[in-house]
Symmetry: C2
Subunit: 198 residues, 2 copies
DNA sequence: CGGCAGTTTGACCAACATCAAGTTGGGTGG
DNA sequence: CCACCCAACTTGATGTTGGTCAAACTGCCG
């Protein structure tokens, strides 16, 4: 679906993954969010799509016609509360990303993304998040750039630099190992200790 | 309030203005949002402040203890629906800003901000948004930079460039006139026509 | 063995940041 | 009333980062 399209339904992602993005008239593209199982597309009270939505894997959706769904939200408080909690979480993610896009260097952006994806994949597979963490990057260099506000060349160069610095190990172009998680986190620009004082 | 503080209440802004921001350990700061009258601070179901919140003018808040408020949200569906609509709007704003931070040039960032502030001030004063629009910048060059992910010097240089190009007229450092709104919009990088095809 | 998409690398360049002076204008104290 | 002070802003010189353009390289598939 593309920005401005009429949207006659809302939906919940059941399987697969999709992404939200927006494109400027001259073609510059920024990815705005990732839709994973349980995430919600569309919103009560708005009939146009606000951003481009594209599947990045085969996706199964659970769709509801918009009007009946809006009624259901009004009559079933619990649904509204759930939607509120989800949209507040998305807001946190979006703001975290604003910090990254506005102020972080290319190297910090890349390490943030690697840490994020590594942790999420490990958690998904019920693996501990420790040194030696190993995973497949689910997205291309191009998609990394679109996510981070960088060009593909800069992404590639930073990956090479991180490899040469021993922060990551790379096999092929997608297989990543993180020998020392603390080393990676130290490059993200964030608090390493979760923000605790002393 | 600062990131990580315990928050025993939620609040609605009645008068004045505040801003949301986050700071990296080394001091880099990114503004994440603006709180104006009717905006909401805090959230049901979360007891820590997620971002720094600072008043930028004298502010009056309407505060509610968090626990009773959470109960009220559960028992009064209409409140939850209103909060949902507000947080979805904030999400749109945040994502619009991600596009700006990730992909726009300094000149585009500045013109976007000027257009945004000009239009909001005009609307607030019930003035038509037309050529010759004139207003006072409510924020300093530094704050503009924090909002746009730029340094103060770059902000200043771009303002000078826009003045020399006749896109804006400047009196003192805060008073702005926009002789031709279309000229300004043409510099934002966005669709000038609101995205309509033909 | 091509052909091709995805990736890497190199050379060069533009945009923005950084560092360092100025400049302006409003407020204060002599 | 004037001199000076200070914060906010502007301007200049220079440095870095990341973008751009172009050319290889890789691995996979037909």
């Amino acid at each position: 679906m593309f920005e401005g399209d009429e949207m006659h339904f809302v939906a919940s992602v059941v399987t697969g993954a999709a992404r939200l993005s927006r494109t400027l008239p001259d073609g510059r593209l920024q990815m705005l969010g990732l839709l994973l199982p349980s995430d919600f597309i569309g919103r009560p009270g708005r009939d146009k799509v606000a951003y481009d939505v594209e599947a990045i894997q085969d996706v199964t959706l659970c769709c509801f016609r918009r009007k009946p769904f809006e009624q259901m939200v009004e009559t079933t408080p619990h649904i509204g509360q759930r939607l509120l909690a989800m949209s507040l979480d998305e807001l946190d993610v979006a703001r975290e990303w604003m910090m990254l896009l506005g102020r972080k260097t290319a190297r910090e952006k890349i390490t943030c993304l690697l840490a994020l994806i590594g942790q999420r994949i490990a958690t998904l597979h019920l693996q501990p998040v420790t040194d030696g963490l190993s995973f497949e990057m689910p997205i291309s260099r191009e998609a990394m750039g679109e996510y981070l506000g960088l060009t593909i060349e800069t992404v590639s160069r930073q990956m090479t630099a991180l490899r040469k610095d021993g922060i990551i190990e790379v096999k092929g172009s997608r297989s990543i190992t993180i020998p020392d998680l603390a080393d990676l986190m130290a490059e993200t620009g964030d608090d390493t200790d979760g923000g605790m004082l002393i």
